[in-house]
Amino acid sequence: MSEASARKLGDDLLRPLLRTSWRFYALVAFLGSIVLTGLCTWAYQVYNGFGITGINNPIFWAFYITNFVFWIGISHAGTLISAILRLVNAGWRRPVTRCAEVITVFALMIGALFPIIHLGRPWLFFWLIPYPSNRQIWPNFRSPLVWDFFAINTYLTGSVLFLVLPMIPDFALVRDKATGVRQKVYAALALGWQGTPKQWHRLESAMSIMAIAIIPVAVSVHTIVSFDFSMAPVPMWHSTMFGPYFVAGAIFSGIAGLIVAMAALRKFLHLEEYLHPVHFQNLGKLLLLMSLLWSYFVFAERLTIWYGNESSEVAVLNVTQKGSFAPLYWTMVVCNFVVPFFIMSIKRLRTIAGCVIASFCVLIGMWLERFLIVVPSLGHKYLPYAWGTYRPRPVEIIITMSTFAAMTLLYTLFSKFVPIISIWEMKAGEHPSPALFPAATREHALGETHA
C-alpha cells in the first residue's frame, strides 16, 4: 500500500477516536439516562419482587426470556458471519468483520443478563456456576439451563478473543498516532506489538483456528438455547426441529442487526468510502436467503402440528393464528417474510435504505417470533383449567427498552475508543496475494481498494 493511501486510511478511521464532537456527549448522555432508568427499574423490581411484573402462573417466562433468546440470536451476526467470511477469504469482509464481531460480544453480554434479571434473587446467580456447594452438591449437568451456562460462556470467551486479537495491531497504530495519556493507554493495549513476520503469522494462525472453532460453537449456542424449550413437554415446544429453527432465526436477526449497525456507522462516522453499497447488497442477499429459510422452518413446523391435529398443540396453533395473538403473529409474518422478500428480491430496491428498512422489520418480527414461542405455549398447556394469559407491566417494558439503549451505548463507546474498521486488514487487502485471490471480482476490489 502506498504511503499516502496508508496515511489517508489511518486518518479516516482514526478520526472518530481522536476528535470528539458535542453530539457524541449528547448521545452518550441520552442513552446513558435510559440505561440508568432501566437499572433503577431493575432495582425497584428486586426490592418489590416479581409481583410488579406481569409474570404469573402458568406464564413464568415472558418478556425477559423473550429478550434473552432475542439478544442471543442477535449475537449470531458477528463472530459467526465474520468467521465464515474469513475462512472463505471473502475480500469484501474486511470493512465488515469488526462491526459484526462487536455486536456479538455486546449482544451476548446483554442476553446473558436476562436470566439473571429473571431471577427473583439475582445475587444468587452464581448457583449456576459449576462448583460444589457446602454439601458437595454440584449443579445438575443434565439440565439445559446449565448447558446454557457452558455454551454462552464458551461463545462469549471465544468471541471476545476473536474480537480482541486483531485489534492489537490497530492499537499499535493508535499508539503511534496519539499523544499524552491516550498514547500511554494504547501503548499498554498494544502489548508491545511490532509487526514482525513471525507475529503476523502467529496472529493469522490463531485467527484461523478460532474461526474454525467458533463456527460450531455459535451453532451450538442457539441450539442449546432452543433446548431450553424443546426439552420440556410443552405444546409446540417439544420439537426435534427447534435446534436448526432457532439457529436459522438467530442468523436471520443477526444479519438484520448488522445491517442496521453498519448503516448507522456509515452515516454518523462518515465511512462512505469504506462501507460501500455492495456490502449492504451482499448482506441483503444473505438476509433474503435467511428469510426464506426461516419461512420454510415456520411452514414445516406449523404444517406438521396442524396435520397431526393433537388437541393441545392445535390449541396453541389456533390462538396464535386466529386468536388473541393473531395480530402479533401476522405482523411477524409480514415483518420476517413479506417485507424482506419483496425488498431484497428486487435488485432496484436492494439499496442501503431498502436494506435498513427490511432489517428494522426483521428485528421487530424476530422479537415477536421469540415472544410468540414463549408466551402462547406456556399459557395453553395440556390442562385447559390451568390456561392463563399475560400482559406486560411497565417494569418489563422499561427494562426491555433500556437494553436496546444499552446496546447502542456500548456500540457508540466502542466505536469511539477502537477503530471500528480493522485498519491493518484494510491495508492487507490492498495487495492480495495472487495465490489467495486468483480472480479479482468487483466485490474483491471494493473490499480491497478504496483510496
Binding site: 458437595q136 502467529r202 483456528i209
Partner: protein, 164 residues
C-alpha cells in the same frame, strides 16, 4: 541495544534490502523486518511460518474434553440422583458440556500459544519506528558487528537509513 535500520516505501525495495543483507553475510534470523500489515506476497515474509499452534490447540481441546468428561461423570456419581428417568451417568447430555469445553480448551490453547510464540506482551523494543504505521517497511539489524556494512547493504533507492 544499538541497531541500524532503514525504512522502505514498498515491499520490493524492502526485499532488495533483505537480499543485500544476506549477501553481506547476515543470516535470515539476524535480520529484522517490521511492517504495518502482513505482506504475504514477498519472500522475506515467509520466515518463521511453521508453527505447532494447530497441534497445541488440538491438545488444549483434548484437555477440555477430558476435563468435561471427568467433571460431569464425577458429579453425577457423587450424588447419584435419578433425573427424568435418565441413567445416573447420562452421556447424551454430558456430551453437550464436553463439546463446549473441548472448543474452549482449543481456543484458549491457541490464544496462549499465539501470545507466547509472538513474544507478547513485551516492552516496546528499540528496533521500531512509528513511520511503519504510515505504510513504511522497516528492515534492520540489532547490534550489528559493523554498522557501515549494514548501512551499505540497506542502501537502495527510496530508503531512509537510521541508527539507534
Amino acid at each position: 541495544m544499538s541497531a541500524v535500520y532503514a525504512l522502505y516505501p514498498d515491499g520490493e525495495s524492502a526485499q532488495r534490502a533483505v537480499n543485500g543483507l544476506r549477501a553481506a553475510g547476515f543470516s535470515t534470523g539476524a535480520i529484522t523486518v517490521i511492517s504495518g500489515e502482513p505482506l504475504e506476497d514477498h519472500e522475506f515474509f515467509d520466515v518463521n511460518k511453521s508453527t505447532w499452534m494447530w497441534y497445541i490447540a488440538s491438545a488444549g481441546g483434548f484437555i477440555g474434553l477430558a476435563s468435561a468428561a471427568w467433571l460431569t461423570r464425577m458429579t453425577e456419581v457423587a450424588w447419584p440422583l435419578r433425573t427424568g428417568n435418565m441413567p445416573i451417568v447420562a452421556w447424551w447430555p454430558n456430551m453437550i458440556v464436553m463439546f463446549e469445553l473441548t472448543m474452549l480448551g482449543g481456543i484458549v490453547a491457541a490464544v496462549v500459544t499465539m501470545f507466547v510464540t509472538a513474544g507478547l506482551p513485551r516492552r516496546r523494543p528499540a528496533l521500531y519506528d512509528p513511520e511503519i504505521m504510515d505504510g513504511k517497511i522497516l528492515v534492520g539489524v540489532d547490534n550489528p558487528p559493523d554498522a557501515a556494512v549494514v548501512e551499505r547493504a540497506l542502501t537502495v533507492p527510496g530508503a531512509t537509513i537510521k541508527r539507534t
